[in-house]
């Protein structure tokens, strides 16, 4: 009996693209779930490659229930994920660049992806360029817009200029994305859409000259119930004008009432008012909340680099000539020590 074939005609370019494109997204996870930045990286990969190209999410760790929970989360984190690749090794229990870069090299050799994506987090910044060099290609980092599979836009000069960069090499196109530019819509994952396969990646032969030469000692971080800076809808930030660490409590009161995250300018961190992970700016964190309130911040170029994509910027500073007012949508030239208590009293409570 002759078998009957049903052919669906597809445009040749789309067919070629399907053959050629596939993305590996290097994900970070914590507390049993995939980090938002990594989901943004999936969104970016999907945007660039189109619906029919496979996106593989790479999750790794030393094993255990947190990793297992992250794998579960990964399976429904974004509809574009077609495979969750899991690597377990004691070498991958901490975010050390040497074993992770080697993992990427091995995963690339096995999977031959056309693209490798990651979020431009401190982990992505640490690992991706090392992996790229090992793979013999230049990465394109901190991308804010994708044009096509090999063309991306990234900020330079603290975001005062945008560079459109094209990758013309042979080898994987390695891209890190600025998570705030590729919002990962929560709840986007629909049931019944794409059940990715979960595949184990054999990480037992991870070895390189550098592996074993670095040792993770510890992480000192502040415990907070406030939302994460990169994902918060409202961010309230303090600068040198706060004058002391104690005065940051005024900001915290306002943040608590609004359900906001608290950030700081470099000057405030340098002065020791707050720890480094609150720094917003060119070399700190990039935020793009619905509302950014800058209190006692002058508005140096380097700080503005971290807040330019905020929907609404409010500035409170008693110096009318502070550069921050040039970028603020609403500026209040008032002593922050008078303005803050009044704001705390009058602002609507957003606490759920």
């Amino acid at each position: 009996m002759a078998s009957s074939w049903k052919w669906k005609w597809r445009p040749l370019s789309k067919l070629a693209r399907n053959f050629a494109s596939s993305a590996l997204v290097v994900a970070e996870h914590g507390g049993g779930s995939v980090k938002n930045g990594s989901i943004s990286a999936v969104a970016a990969a999907a945007a660039v490659l189109g619906d029919s190209s496979p996106v593989t999410l790479l999750l790794a760790g030393s094993g255990g229930s947190e990793l297992d929970a992250a794998i579960q989360h990964a399976s429904s984190a974004h509809p574009a994920v077609s495979q969750v690749l899991v690597a377990r090794s004691p070498l991958l229990g901490q975010p050390l660049a040497e074993p992770w870069a080697e993992l990427l090299v091995q995963a690339q050799k096995k999977g031959n992806y056309s693209h490798i994506f990651a979020a431009s987090s401190s982990f992505g910044k640490d690992v991706l360029p090392r992996a790229a060099a090992l793979l013999g290609v230049s990465p394109i980092t901190d991308v804010t817009r994708t044009i096509d599979q090999h063309t991306y836009i990234r900020p330079i000069y603290a975001g005062n200029a945008m560079a459109t960069v094209r990758f013309k090499g042979s080898g994987p196109c390695i891209v890190s994305i600025r998570a705030t530019s590729f919002p990962a819509v929560p709840g986007l994952a629909l049931t019944g859409v794409g059940h990715p396969s979960i595949v184990d990646f054999d990480a037992s032969s991870l070895s390189s000259e550098a592996i074993g030469k670095s040792k993770w000692i510890g992480l000192a971080s502040q415990q907070t119930e406030r939302p994460e800076l990169g994902a918060a809808k409202i961010v309230i930030s303090g600068g040198r004008g706060l004058k002391s660490a104690e005065n940051f409590e005024l900001l915290e009161k306002l943040a608590d009432k609004l359900g906001a995250a608290v950030g700081a300018s470099r000057a405030a961190v340098d002065a020791g008012f707050v720890p480094n992970d609150m720094q917003i700016g060119q070399t700190g964190k990039i935020v793009a909340p619905e509302l950014y309130i800058a209190v006692g911040i002058s508005g140096a170029i380097q700080h503005l680099a971290g807040i330019k994509d905020s929907k609404v910027i409010v500035a409170i500073n008693k110096d009318r000539d502070a550069p921050i007012f040039q970028v603020a949508d609403y500026g209040l030239a008032m002593d922050l020590f008078e303005a803050l208590p009044e704001l705390v009293a009058k602002v609507p409570s957003k606490r759920l």
Partner: protein, 253 residues
């Protein structure tokens, strides 16, 4: 032990850059240029390591056209012992991967035990070179360092790093690559006697050909444009007015 520091000449951090009309890049002629601030911090750290008796020599290296020499001299004026200039025709074709390959070649011949760099250049904001050269060298890396402590036996270095979650501490076996973050130190100003002394210190010139490195690039900058402009804002006179605007105009509440 020898410490090598790679430094870059960039548009001064205080300059408000202008984009060229033909969108080919940013205007750099007639613009104040300086050593990249993160590179200054890296040089300062190398000098402190030497002053603490952990290193015997600090070599400053830079790549690009003739003007690099000024930047190397600044490093020498701060206190570095000698300079290395990799002379290339055109600085704009020096993407991080090319710089990393050149550094790899220099490291093979100079054999430093520690390679220090700034974490990123404030012009391209890449934050890649240190990581890439560490990969090419097969050396461990510690990026975004806020504290660097070389062990007494000079076999390892303990580094505190500024990461998203706070301060991470890692320990690396030497030789290693470390990139400097803002709070690692406050760089010294070059004193006049040191500026004079620097004139006598040697700067060795070498070409990529002599290092057996082919400068190519798999990247192309198609254009450089203005970032999206925000529309002008307004000043409000009171907290009440601010809250009213936020609620009724911006609708964020």
């Amino acid at each position: 032990m020898k410490v090598m520091v790679a430094v870059k000449r960039v548009v001064d951090y205080a300059v408000k850059v202008r984009i060229k009309a033909d969108k080919s890049g940013v205007e750099t002629s007639n613009t104040k240029m300086s050593m990249n601030p993160f590179c200054e911090i890296a040089v300062e750290e190398a000098l402190r390591i030497k002053e603490a008796g952990r290193a015997s020599e600090v070599v400053v290296v830079s790549m690009g056209g003739e003007q690099c020499v000024e930047t190397i001299r600044t490093g020498l004026a701060m206190g570095a012992d000698r300079g290395l200039h990799v002379i290339t025709q055109d600085s704009s074709s020096l993407f991080p991967l090319a710089v990393a390959k050149l550094l790899q070649a220099l490291v093979s011949s100079e054999q430093p035990r520690l390679l220090l760099l700034g974490k990123q250049a404030i012009d391209d904001d890449c934050n890649q070179t240190g990581q890439m050269v560490a990969g090419l060298l097969g050396w461990p890396q510690a990026t975004f360092a806020s504290k660097v402590s070389i062990s007494d036996d000079k076999e390892s270095v303990c580094v505190e790093r500024e990461v998203d979650g706070g301060i991470e501490t890692i320990q690396l076996q030497l030789p290693a690559v470390v990139t400097a973050d803002l709070r690692l130190n406050t760089p010294r100003y070059a004193t006049l006697p040191n500026i004079m002394k620097a004139k006598k210190k040697s700067i060795q010139r070498v070409t990529p050909e002599e290092l057996n490195v082919v400068i190519g690039s798999d990247l192309e900058v198609l254009e450089v444009t203005e970032p999206p402009k925000r529309k002008a804002g307004v000043m409000v006179a009171s907290v009440d007015e601010l809250l009213d605007k936020l609620k009724n105009e911006a609708r964020v509440f």
